[in-house]
Homo-oligomer: 252 residues x 2
DNA sequence: CCTGTTCTTACATGTTTCTGCATGTATCGT
DNA sequence: ACGATACATGCAGAAACATGTAAGAACAGG
């Protein structure tokens, strides 16, 4: 049992079950509670979890989503990504956000698709390096390590120099009152800047994001063309959004 | 048991089981743990795995994908990269080029090093995302897929807004007459722009580059602080360069 | 075929890091 | 307030690590 494995195990438990009890994990893995506590303390120091008496809870929404980077793309995100690919027109220009859903979109682009992809995510670039026809443009800036994208003033400024037909944005929260939200202020500003440079902006949000709210507002609904999700159409949040006129496309 | 076989075996284990425990592999293959550790260190320097206490874990897909595409990765690059790391001062700002040698530098940065890394390579960014203390700044622009770096007018312009203490550049040719050369004109211009923004510029060139020449000139010798290579000091090209006053540092 | 060189590998050393236990302290539930 | 549990700290043994060194294999040149 490598120390790094323990760490992953703990993060996995946090993501799956929403909590970690030091005593239980120690018994389960056959290690001392001290080691579990030490690991949790380290993870908390990195902002990956929140230490509480008896164990730990997932990190605050501001940094949540970091841990999921390692794991495989869940089915929901893949469905949403597949539906988003249908929006892309050959020969066009696409602004692609960072995050796992956008990364899934990159992976699903058909090999014969001829288009330009603009992104602030090095990960998306890496995923599309092998693509034979896509032209890549990278927006630079200070790299926000938690979500692995460029943001900040320089990145926002770089975004002013591009324009596109379509912008696909991921968010961490879609809420009737709070609107479209994400966990970091700079990231929110960057998404806003991206959306402003495209003729159409679609939001990609797998089911677990619907009804959730994060600290920072990304966009008002008026700036959004539509929403793609795999959540059931009768989800109360979706019904309210549809009633207010937002186009909602169901991924399946 | 050939060294290359061991390497493949380790990569296979990483892919199949998601981890490698140095002790176990040593017992399984009947070799010393030192050899396993050496191999893992080399693989980590090439970005093919991530070293952890007790063994290794798979590298992030973005880095592994790029590193795998490079056909030959001679051991010399690791030595050159290790020598380059010695030039980096804590708290300083470093401009890091793209390419496998620069990637090896990124992989060899000590975890306790506190510095800012500016790069136009998404791969380098991906390699340093896990680094706990390094601050990352990404220079954006059109992505040149062959070498996976941002270049072109936008990237050169972005480079004008940064400055650093040290710039580490890779080249594909080091030749007494042709000078420092590389295979793409835009890439050469980008390297030139990077070098112009740093107080010191060092060239990283493993042995096979010495005496070679590529189509496009990167920099005149006057703009270069020194050269790091693992080629023998009595290499005719190096002797000529040293005679003309260039500082040459031998990696071993 | 021989010789000197280089590279690789294994071992030996000292250092660092990890882990579990012991102690004393803080916090929780009753 | 009390006992029980969780916690932080210090410590010691163990494991992993880096480094240097020496023996052997592979190689190039004569």
């Amino acid at each position: 049992m490598l120390a790094a494995e323990r760490r992953d195990h703990l993060l996995g438990l946090l993501a799956r079950e929403g909590k970690v009890v030091a005593k239980d994990v120690a018994a389960e893995l056959g290690i001392s509670e001290d080691s579990v506590r030490r690991d949790l303390r380290d993870l908390a120091a990195e902002g990956l979890c929140q230490r509480v008496y008896g164990g730990a809870l997932p990190a605050s929404p501001a940094v949540a989503g970091y841990a999921e980077r390692q794991s495989v793309t869940p089915g929901g995100k893949r469905k949403v990504a597949a539906a988003a690919v249908d929006l892309i027109r050959p020969g066009g220009t696409l602004i692609l956000d960072g995050g796992t859903t956008a990364l899934a979109v990159a992976g699903l682009l058909p090999p014969d698709l001829d288009c330009t992809v603009i992104t602030h995510s090095p990960t998306v670039v890496a995923a599309l390096l092998e693509h034979p026809r896509v032209e890549l443009f990278l927006l630079g800036g200070r790299v926000f390590k938690h979500s692995a994208v460029a943001c900040g003033a320089a990145a926002v400024e770089a975004a002013q120099n591009v324009s596109a037909d379509l912008c696909l944005l991921g968010v961490t929260g879609v809420h009737p009152e709070a609107g479209l939200t994400t966990g970091d202020a700079d990231e929110a500003a960057m998404k806003r800047a991206l959306a402003a440079r495209a003729a159409e902006t679609w939001i990609l949000a797998s089911a677990e994001k619907i009804g959730a709210a994060s600290p920072f507002r990304v966009l008002p609904w008026e700036r959004v063309t539509g929403l793609i999700t795999d959540a059931a159409p009768d989800h109360p949040t979706l019904e309210r959004l549809a009633a207010s006129g937002l186009e909602i496309r169901r991924a399946r």
